[in-house]
Assembly symmetry: C2
Homo-oligomer: 192 residues x 2
DNA sequence: GCGTTTGCCTAAAGCGTTTAGGCAAATTAG
DNA sequence: CTAATTTGCCTAAACGCTTTAGGCAAACGC
């Protein structure tokens, strides 16, 4: 009986592809086994369980995304960097909807801390160096940017912005303008 | 054999409660049947299938959320309205994480169009009347606000902002400041 | 070549979904 | 008030996904 050459690595990668094809929450051990022409039980030597598989896909996607983002911001600054960075998120989600959905899965704290999520935060901070923000405003801004990217991409992918004018690309461009303007004129807390 | 008094309505409501307790994607027909002390098959007279059940929960949550939001913005304007509106989203998600997750489920276009999602967009527009925005900027702003609320709440609920200073409440407050400032000084598109 | 490790297998149990068909309770009509 | 009809929940059964236990054979290390 020839061996299929399963590894955790290959399963994760194939799982990510599967996610892009059928949606992250239709990623199933059974389907994966089918694709490798292998019995389901065989997967369990390489992956603890379905949740473990999903987690690995999420981590893979976070890494890929961080790599792309890293490339994108290299040699750029200010609004240019901001836009390039944001576009990475949006483009990745459009090319790889399943992987993108995976990045939205909630990871347990230890896993999250060991993930590329940390790199994402660092890169966001790097971008903010082009603006005049000091702590704690920088952290607030990191969180705000994360929220916008995350939220926009989710809504767009869910079809929230289709079938209504103006088209999503236009809003995206203007969102970049808005964020740039906001970061250049970050408000000091009004007296409350 | 006494009847349990199942209705689509009651199932949906119980499903929503279940979602808040165990998480939206652990909402299962079996568990729901257990809670009503009824056989699983009995549910299928009231609900087409599990996806139908989930969709109904999502629609319920959207309605509840719209009702709350409607109350919150009544009699308020400007930043006051913006903050009250935003707080509704955040508070709802904290009180009802399962229902909130349901609102993030992607609905097919017809269902979405018939949902309270439409009311949400209208209310957001109403809030923007306190700022000086005309179309198409108003639509861009509606989408941006939606993205921020949606994204922030998701990330916060996933634990993204816990275990690091400053605390999430502080960022939330400053996010309101930032959005208010942004809307008051909405940038015109730079010459590109 | 031989022993050990490793990889994939068969088998089986458990649980969730969904459909088909049936009996009894509730409702409506005469 | 009883008879007919509708409605609500049932049993039964098929199917798919997950997960564990235990086995045989291929690959590898000496």
């Amino acid at each position: 009986m020839a061996r299929a050459g399963l590894t955790t690595e290959r399963l994760t990668r194939a799982g990510a592809d599967l996610a892009d094809e059928v949606g992250f929450d239709h990623v199933t051990a059974s389907e994966l086994a089918r694709r490798f022409d292998v019995k389901v039980a065989s997967l369990y030597s390489h992956v603890r369980n379905t949740h473990d598989l999903r987690t690995r896909i999420a981590l893979l996607a976070l890494e890929e995304l961080a790599d792309r983002a890293s490339d994108a911001v290299a040699g750029r600054a200010g609004k240019d960097a901001l836009t390039a960075f944001a576009n990475v998120y949006r483009d990745y989600a459009r090319e790889h909807p399943g992987r993108a959905a995976a990045t939205r899965m909630s990871l347990d704290p230890e896993t999250a801390a060991a993930s590329a999520g940390v790199r994402h935060a660092q890169m966001t901070r790097a971008i903010l160096r082009g603006y005049d923000l000091t702590e704690p405003d920088q952290t607030h801004a990191v969180r705000l940017l994360g929220s916008v990217f995350h939220g926009y991409v989710s809504l767009e992918l869910a079809g929230g912005f289709s079938h209504s004018a103006p088209d999503s690309q236009e809003t995206w461009t203007r969102t970049m303008d808005a964020l740039d303007a906001l970061l250049r004129n970050w408000p000091t807390p009004p007296t409350r």
